[in-house]
């Protein structure tokens, strides 16, 4: 494919892994700084922090909506095309929530409402964290079983870890909240990221031939794989944003960021490690 100018065989393993490792380090610092300043590595959405979200289509301006909900702990109003609004409120007492849901229905009978209590949000947080840990451990075990060799397995696991860490840092910088949907996207990223890593590792370690040819071939296949997936996700994202389908838009945007980062991690970090491993004779 002509648009890709990256020649995987031009650089030494050392040169290849520098950029991803530096980014991983920066991501670590961003997440640490965010934890230090706000208490969590990534901003928590209402699923985890508690609160209320209202999805509505209305020609009302943001100022009008703000005025209407002046009595409630309004956090933000996101606008999208064709008058879609996504209004977020902080946690509130039961009575106030009842009053709010009546106020919403009065003015916007076709609004969707979602509310999560603060303590329930904490429970969901713990559950999501458990899911993330179990997924990651499970993935690592499968990878180790598949390759039965330390360096290639560690390379795959490291690049999946780096995908998640850098994507989370990007979410933190862009102010994309962590919700159930985006947690699912991060889990899915574990699966997606390993796809291209396994392709790379299998091609290089299990096929005969020149290393440069195998790397080049793996890259061509891997790149087309990731771009087709990206195209499906971009289509999904465009429609979801236009139609104000919050959860799908959130899943799609995290996956898009994650897959772009995965391109880097697979073809610089993982490929760099594999190249070094084969050149030093680890394949025998």
């Amino acid at each position: 494919m002509e648009i890709v100018r990256y020649d995987i065989n031009r650089y030494s393993p050392g040169q290849m892994v520098v950029l991803p490792l530096v980014l991983l380090l920066i991501a670590g610092m961003v997440l640490a700084a965010s934890t230090f300043m706000t208490g969590t590595p990534v901003e928590l959405g209402i699923d985890f922090a508690g609160g209320t979200a209202v999805t509505v289509f209305t020609p009302d301006s943001v100022a009008e909506i703000e005025a209407y909900f002046a009595d409630y702990p309004l956090l933000s109003i996101d606008e999208s095309v064709n008058n879609g609004k996504y209004i977020k409120f902080g946690p509130m007492e039961d009575d106030q929530f009842r009053a709010l849901s009546e106020a919403v229905v009065d003015r916007y009978p076709n609004a969707g409402i979602d509310q999560i209590g603060e303590t329930f949000g904490k429970t969901l947080q713990q559950q999501a964290l458990l899911a993330l840990i179990f997924s990651f451990i499970g993935m690592s075990i499968v990878v180790f079983i598949a390759f039965r060799s330390a360096v290639p397995s560690i390379a795959v696991v490291l690049s999946a870890f780096s995908d998640i860490a850098i994507t989370a840092a990007a979410m933190s910088i862009l102010g994309m909240p962590l919700s159930l949907g985006t947690t699912a996207a991060l889990l899915m990223l574990i699966g997606y990221s390993v796809d291209s890593d396994i392709l790379l590792t299998s091609r290089v370690l299990k096929r005969k031939g020149k290393l440069a040819e195998k790397l080049g071939g793996a890259f061509r296949t891997g790149f087309i794989m990731t771009t087709t997936t990206l195209s499906a996700l971009v289509a999904m994202w465009v429609v979801a944003v236009a139609g104000q389908v919050q959860i799908i838009a959130a899943i799609a945007s995290v996956l898009i960021i994650g897959l772009v980062i995965d391109l880097m991690n697979t073809w610089l970090l993982n490929a760099g490690i594999i190249k070094w491993y084969v050149q030093k004779g680890g394949n025998r």
């Binding site: 076709n110 559950q127 499970g138 990878v143 598949a146 574990i190 699966g191 291209s196 996956l255």
Partner: protein
Amino acid sequence: MNRDTLKKLVTDWQVALVLVLVAASLIGIYLAPPAFQNGIEGNLQFGLDLEGGSWLQLEFQSAIVGFTTDRPMNEVIPELEQQLDTQVLLIDENTVEIQKLYTRAELEPVFAAAGAQIVSYQQGVSQETADTVKRTLEEKVNSLGTMDAKINVLTPTGSDYPQYVRVELAGVDMATAQEIVGKQGVFEIRIQTTGNESVHVVYGDAISSVSPPSRESMNGAWGVPFTLNDAGAEAFRQAALTYGAVDNPEAHHLVMLLDGEEVFNGALNPSLANQLRSQPVRSLQATTGTGEEGLEDAKSLEIHLRAGALPVGVQIVGSGSVPAALGEQFKTMSILAGLLALVAVGVVVYYRYREPFIVVPMLAINLAEIIILLGIARYIQQLDLAAIAGLIAVLGTGIDQLVIITDEVLHEGRVPSPNLYMKRYGRALGIIAVAASTMFIAMLPLALMDLSTLRGFAIITILGVVIGVLVTRPAYGKIIMAILSK
């Protein structure tokens, strides 16, 4: 492609399997039972966010406490009940359910005073109580006519006891949903006078507590123990004396009504009748009968005695509603997103291979994968927005893996000799099997966790990966081989 190739293809078992499954799925979605009136949706089930409706997530205000004591249980438990002002149920040898939410720190001194020591504490209820809650809620919903309702008891991962119950009501707004869940019926106890006539004795507010069904030691009959308050017990005694139930129990049955419907009809027990002659009796038991049937009746009666009140307090910890119109719009958007994703994938793949003989089978197999997935999902999983995101993600991984197969088996657009082809084909399947296993493992926790609203997402993704790796992707390899070797 000529007739021979086609014949060879259809007789290949992997390709045939795909065709059979696609046909079966289409039949399941549209024909069994016929669902033409639903248009493109057929028999697929949709979640609340696409169908419109409301959900409430309720948390049990109750604790399960394990403890040790040297004293007999029948002394400790009444003391606890009195101190804590709530029912305390023994659920196994040394574990109790306290039907009011106290923190462990609040309970420690109370248990210490009763000569017991707490060894474990968890928020939640026993499985039996959770079942009663579920049945009570189901009964309330059913009493309002046919309504599409789902009531699920949820146990957080890492906990041993149910802690939440989730109520989903299709086509109902949130205010109505809250009303239905909070609604209580009117319960009344009456006494038979002559013939079919009866008179009022007490209302449900005279019942101070209701216990789960228990078995009488004498005859093994099931019954529901309950207690009346002092005023209620006095009224009960007076009625039994006035209408002659004490002297002739068989002719003067007790009748219990919930919202005007009879839920119990039975005679006063002779020994109870004797007791009533001298004093009011607070603790009563309504006997329903022996065996399985007696137990089932007792369970229903327990719910009726509570008149729709739940055995433990609940708090709304989450809720939501989607109006039907918004759900409809989400549905349209989801279909659009899926179609656009398929087109986008088609364009990219065509740009890469420029070969209709590769691109068309690729997209066809992808479509087949989604049809089979929907065909299975129709029976096991309702589609919500998250599940649709999963569906589109599956489309993405599906194409990924078809690209792996294509690039693995083809060399500069040509198909090698059959032997070499099969070897490479096997290697490609090896790669996708490993990739699929990791996706499967990564999604498994979400699919198993009770609490996540992302079960649909995880289940659809897992299903898609499994169908892909076992059925459709191997078939694709065969199709490419048959078409391109010509």
